[in-house]
């Protein structure tokens, strides 16, 4: 029996050795590795364009949750060069978690407005998305304030995704920053009372449920409008998109007067083995051609001034007047916002 075991052990050891040999040697100089919570299909065209231009190969790891934990655990041996997320809060978590490093780049600083990047160069916004109102297309409604969502006249007519989703906690955090926690709680209770169905599903479900007669209005992100309204005639998505019109809400608050936006953004990883390539990639992503692709292929609002919107987006949403509240200020209130969602039982 002993022989059989030692034979098995030898085989296992040999297999392990063979596997080790197969490990690629130190990443070549013409590579860059991106860890992202963004869906790869959305950024793949951008990354392909970068590779075509720079001859630098891009490796991607799409991580859903736990990006921070993974990079932390990988430590100084981590192959990650660029960390890319949606939602400012997620990005700032990475910075606070100590897995990023500041970089200096005139190209980045000149392309991105100061309120959309870290002052020390530790994080950068790459694209913008606003939280807007989807309304049944025949509804007589010209303007809207986020506060109106709690108005009893909308009872049983509001659809929205889970309150705990970062898109919503971001908005609630912004409201806390504007009006304080007590007022925001009252507002959230009002919105909860107005819900037509459970706070669940995705942003596009708002449009679909408006078509399905479940609700009349709801909050969702801008780029889905482009996706739906630009879909082929006859597809489901196009029908949902055609059922709604978009209104850009503002805060009632005087100092605001703008629409709540969130970002997708990126940082350079603290132990990036290809730091120079990482910076090159970021600089490419805010260059004019790449920002054009963000607008045309993803229906997002570019961060760079002077880049044209996608025609469908331009027609159904148009330029944004952004709430001037700094993203860092909003991110500060995010945990408070999440606790508030629990407290009022918004997702219950």
């Amino acid at each position: 029996m002993k022989h059989r075991f030692s034979f098995a052990l030898t085989v296992a050891a040999l297999a392990a050795l063979a596997a080790m040999v197969a490990v690629p040697a130190q990443a070549a100089a013409d590579e860059v590795t991106v860890y992202t919570t963004r869906e790869p299909a959305l950024i793949q065209p951008l990354l392909a364009a970068f590779t075509a231009q720079s001859k630098i190969k891009v490796n991607t790891v799409f991580v859903k949750d736990g990006l921070l934990e993974r990079v932390k655990a990988e430590g100084e041996r981590s192959p990650a060069d660029v960390l890319m997320t949606v939602d400012a809060g997620n990005l700032l978590d990475l910075v606070e978690g100590g897995v990023t490093q500041p970089v200096k780049s005139a190209a980045l600083d000149s392309a991105i407005p100061a309120n959309l990047r870290g002052a020390d160069g530790s994080w950068y916004s790459l694209s913008l998305r606003a939280r807007v109102l989807y309304a049944e297309k025949n509804l007589a409604l010209k303007s809207f304030r986020y506060e109106d969502l709690a108005d009893p006249k909308w009872k049983g007519k509001v659809c929205i995704r889970a309150g705990q989703h970062p898109y919503n906690t971001g908005l609630i955090a912004a409201m806390i920053a504007h009006d304080g926690e007590a007022k925001t709680e009252q507002w959230l209770r009002g919105v909860k009372n107005n819900l037509a169905r459970k706070a669940t599903g995705g942003d596009r479900d708002v449009a679909r449920d408006i078509l399905g007669g479940i609700c009349d209005i709801g909050l969702a992100n801008t780029y889905y409008v482009g996706h739906m309204k630009a879909s082929k005639e006859g597809t489901d998505a196009r029908k949902w998109g055609d059922a709604i019109k978009v209104i850009k809400p503002t805060f009632a608050n005087e100092k605001s007067g703008g629409t709540h936006v969130n970002i997708s953004g990126a940082s350079v990883a603290k132990h990036a083995p290809q730091r120079a390539n990482a910076v090159k990639l970021l600089e490419f992503l805010v260059s004019e051609p790449a920002q054009n692709m963000y607008a045309q292929a993803n229906y997002e609002h570019p961060v760079r001034k002077g880049v044209a919107l996608d025609p469908v987006v331009a027609q159904s949403i148009g330029e944004l007047k952004i709430d001037p509240l700094p993203l860092t200020e909003i991110a500060k209130h995010r945990k408070q916002a999440s606790a508030l969602v629990d407290k009022v039982g918004f997702d219950r």
Binding site: A19, A27, E39, V61, G202, G213
Partner: protein
């Protein structure tokens, strides 16, 4: 010959035990790392959790598990008994078709039903047309996004776990016991209730616990249908509040409850033994006639229709629409299929071998005083922790070991992570309970006298395993292997966190489509998951449901 003396005399036995202990420690590593995390944080947020989060989440979890438990038990046991002890129209097809929902990931079924049952979907559209309404604003059904909807979806997807184990048990139950009960005056129902059902209890417990742990673990379907369970609470605490320690605390408390439940079930039947050395003669199905036959056919057809046929037809239709619009199957998708199959195969081989080692080392057929059986119980833990939380727990120990090995061999980066070894280990930890449970209950049914005879005739413990038990365990091993394969193919959360660069599986592909809110674009990927899952399920049906699969058929007289 007690286990202890054998243990002392034979180094092979020690090696065997040692390996088993090592495997158990591997499973424990992420758990310990989670407990470490949980203890390292403050408990201040528990006032908030206890006040606003946990009561509702615990109630939801209890309701969901109770609902799914009842549904899977009734459907699984009912169908298994109907096709085992009765003959009716369609039985020949149904007895294997009842396994088909195993190929369906719960989150895909949830997506499918939300579309099918949406006010603007085909079902409500047809109903409105029949009732003469023109718009959903005039009339519509209640929303699927509710507790009832989640019980419906999960119950009809997960019942095969119970069906499969119950069916295997009923098939191999000795007919003479049932006949004795009938001769003693029991009705057919009474004999089922008082003989067949209690005999099937270990199998039902295994099946039911798999279904319930799947329910507890589910994040896709229940979150999508708006049911906030404890698992969802763990997520929210971790992701939204960036409070990993708090999430670990909730996860550890959930784990305690699971361990307590499993222990209670085992404790309740600790003195029962289910082995029988009698030569088996399987129950002969009784032919049903008239209304009874049609009711039996209906009862067994509905689960297949709801759990498989309707969502599969929906996926086919959606895929057809995509493909006819000129969206081909990309090379990336084919590569994902390859990755999925490779990963599932690797996970299956590793998990089944590990499971066999643990189950054999902790068996109690001869060595009743064997060192201890804690390894086998530990194996349950992996399945009880939500996939992402398990993966998070594994990150620190696995990557520390990875870095250590790399340093030792002067390799760059993190080789085990880059090769996907960490991912395979995570899946193995997650699914270990399947082969351990399956092989254990298989071992329980092999009479201890066989092992005693073999050992008395001079065979070693290992030789006894090879020459006596392995042939008898073949069906149990095949079943476990196929189940692990199907589960590994559907695995999503651990893969999302631990995969190497540029590595996609069908599940992550589909998730990616769902993540950008275009899940209907993922129809092709979803269909591929189902199609690739069908083969093992059909094989499963063959190994499980063939008369030749009876574990004791070849048992020498």
């Amino acid at each position: 010959m007690t286990g202890r003396s054998a243990f002392r005399r034979r180094p092979v036995g020690a090696l065997w035990q040692g390996t088993s202990v090592l495997i158990a420690l591997g499973v424990l590593a992420p758990v310990v790392s989670l407990i470490w995390l949980a203890l390292g944080a403050d408990w201040a947020h528990w006032t908030h959790l206890v006040q606003y989060v946990l009561p509702d989440a615990a109630l939801n979890t209890a309701l969901l598990m109770a609902g799914v438990g009842v549904l899977t038990l009734v459907i699984g046991t009912g169908c298994a008994w109907l096709v085992s002890a009765h003959d009716f129209p369609g039985r020949k097809v149904l007895h294997w078709a009842l396994l088909l929902p195993l190929a369906m990931p719960a989150y895909i079924v949830a997506f499918a039903y939300l579309d099918l049952l949406h006010p603007i979907g085909p079902v409500q559209g047809a109903l409105r047309w029949m009732l003469g309404y023109s718009s959903p604003r005039e009339w519509r059904l209640p929303d699927l996004r509710s507790m009832g909807g989640a019980v419906f979806v999960l119950g009809f997807v997960l019942y095969p776990y119970v069906y499969m184990t119950a069916r295997a048990m009923f098939m191999t139950q000795p007919a003479h016991l049932m006949e004795a009960a009938r001769m003693l005056g029991e009705s057919r129902w009474g004999a089922f209730r008082r003989v067949a059902l209690p005999m099937a209890r270990p199998a039902l417990a295994v099946g039911l616990s798999l279904a319930l742990l799947e329910t507890l673990n589910d994040i896709g379907a229940s979150e999508f249908l708006g049911v906030n369970t404890l698992t969802v609470a763990v997520y929210t605490t971790w992701i939204t509040r960036t409070d990993l320690a708090g999430a670990a605390q909730i996860a550890c408390s959930m784990l305690l409850v699971v361990v307590a439940l499993v222990w209670m079930e085992r404790h309740a039947r600790r003195h029962q033994r289910y082995g029988s050395a009698q030569r088996m003669r399987a129950i002969q199905p009784e032919r049903l006639h008239g209304v009874k036959a049609w009711l039996a056919a209906l009862f067994t057809t509905v689960p297949v229709l709801i759990g498989f046929a309707a969502p599969a037809a929906y996926l086919c239709w959606e895929s057809y629409k995509r493909l006819s619009q000129g969206q081909g199957v990309s090379t990336g998708l084919w590569m994902s299929l390859g990755n999925t199959l490779t990963l599932a195969l690797g996970v299956t081989v590793v998990t089944v071998i590990a499971g066999l080692i643990v189950a054999w080392a902790t068996r109690n057929s001869v060595s009743t005083r064997a060192p201890s059986r804690w390894q086998a119980r530990v194996a349950t833990l992996g399945y009880a922790i939500p996939g992402t939380v398990l993966a998070i727990g594994l990150l620190t120990p696995a990557l520390a070991m990875d870095a250590g090995i790399a340093r030792l061999l002067h390799l760059p980066g993190l080789p085990l992570m880059a090769l996907g070894v960490v991912l395979v280990v995570a899946c193995c930890i997650r699914f270990l309970v399947i082969p351990v449970g399956g092989i254990e209950s298989g071992l329980q049914r092999i009479p201890a006298t066989l092992e005693q005879a073999s050992r008395l005739l001079g065979e070693t413990a290992f030789g006894t395993l090879l020459r006596v038990h392995l042939p008898l365990l073949r069906p149990a091993i095949a079943t476990s292997a196929l189940l692990v394969f199907v589960d590994a193919m559907k695995e999503l959360p651990a893969t999302l966190l631990l995969r190497p660069a540029n590595f996609d599986t069908l599940a992550t592909w589909l998730y990616a489509e769902a993540a950008r809110g275009t899940y209907e674009e993922g129809a092709v990927a979803a269909l591929l998951i189902v199609v690739a899952g069908l083969l093992p399920v059909v094989l499963l049906a063959r190994t499980q449901l063939q008369p030749g699969a009876q574990p004791l058929e070849n048992h020498p007289e």
